[in-house]
Amino acid sequence: MTEIATSSPPAATTMPFRGGGFEIVPRPLIAAASLALLLLAWEAASRFGLVSDLFLPSPLAVCAALYRIAADGTLWLHLSASLTRILGGWTLGTACGLALGLLMGIFSAVRAAGLPIVSALFPIPKIALLPLLILWLGIGEQAKIATIALGVFFPTAITAFSAVDSVPRNLIRMAQSFNLPWRAIVLKVILPGALPGILAGFRITTSIALILMVAAEMIATQHGVGAFLLEAGNLLRVDQLLAGVAILSVLGLLISLVLSRLEAWLLRWR
């Protein structure tokens, strides 16, 4: 006893910390710096003759080309043609895809009839159908809009019925237990419940529409960003070609921004 009372306790040490890390934190400065560094390296490579101006013009040359096509109206001419096509094709494909997908999500008979057809046609690269669509619809706008619409239709139908499937069944049972009519269950439970999945599908279908738009415009088209890119390439105007690519990048970013805003507004309950 005496021994215990007189001996001093061992010195306290700090508990070694083993947690932390494995967390992604935003670093906006690094993000901006990496982009700036890439552009600087590209500019420097051009200036010091490390890359040929013919094949890779400097970022400033691309900006100058962009300014020129914006100032002389070329940009708007091509961009407006492209926007009309993508908007028309995407809206048509989305409307039809949503209608079929929702019906497949709700009615077993429509699912049984539609699923084999959708599954069989979904994997076909839709650009391969453009020559056929040109034969059927002519060389004009309809064939291009139909190609985009077809490309959008199948993934929209699939995401729509999967989104309906993902609505928790207990919410539907709850609505039934309160004697909500069938129509009210669809409008107040199934559609809002499927909305997050449907909106996520929009991100995929807008990028498909953008790819198909460019590809379709490279075939027998006078105006459109795709046609502009092809022409610039054929004439070895690489500065204009890269300006066109930059426009597509901005278009993609804008579409993504619009969808993010739409999601934030429609899914504000999340």
């Binding site: 049972r173 237990s177 004697n179 809002p192």
Partner: protein, 257 residues
Amino acid sequence: MDLLVQGVGHSYGKVRALERVDLTVKAGEILALVGPSGCGKSTLLGIMGGILQPSEGSVALRGKPSERSLNPFTYVFQDFALLPWRTVAGNVELALEHHGLGAAARRERVSAVLARTKLSEFRAAYPRQLSGGMRQRVGIARALVVEPEILFMDEPLSALDAQTRELLMEDFLALFEGTAATAVYVTHNLGEAIRLADRIVVLSRRPGRVREIVQVEIPRVARGEIGAAGEIAGLERHLWQLIRTEALEAERERIDD
């Protein structure tokens, strides 16, 4: 009104969930359904409340629901079943939206039931902003707003932590106090069953049959008092013995399979 379960049996494919269940829920009583896991308690509740079609037998009703009741047979769900895109008030109002009530009458009823369930200040909150206990309180408010004739409660407290369970149990007792509410309450918690129910139906292991019906003689108000502790402990022991035997048998059968 009385609810009569007559020769109800149910199968999920090859799995037999319930076997010839006969049972009567009398008007004004709270009936608890207990039994080992997987004995078909929730299936029986679904059949009793008319959201599941039995493979055999039927559920009959004796008497007419009160004129005031907008949804005579109303559920409270284990996982709350709240629409995440609707606010607290919106979720409660959903139950009133197809009963010919005007917007003002609906709002009035919603406000009254939110006050009764101590949710008034959360009326504009979305479910994700609420704790589990609060969410279930919304589920209870939604059930009460339609003035049900019979409440079907499917393990309403089992998704909650012990403290929240205790608090909500007190709320249940207060809500049922002095009302002639009829309720069927499924639980695996014997303490809950004893505190709340007038009669406790013990189901056997799968396929669930009525093993025994235990009457709780102690008045509900006295069940929290020390004087009743001995009797309650004895009741709980008896119930546990019944369920334990069934649960052990079920476990053995699972191993044999």
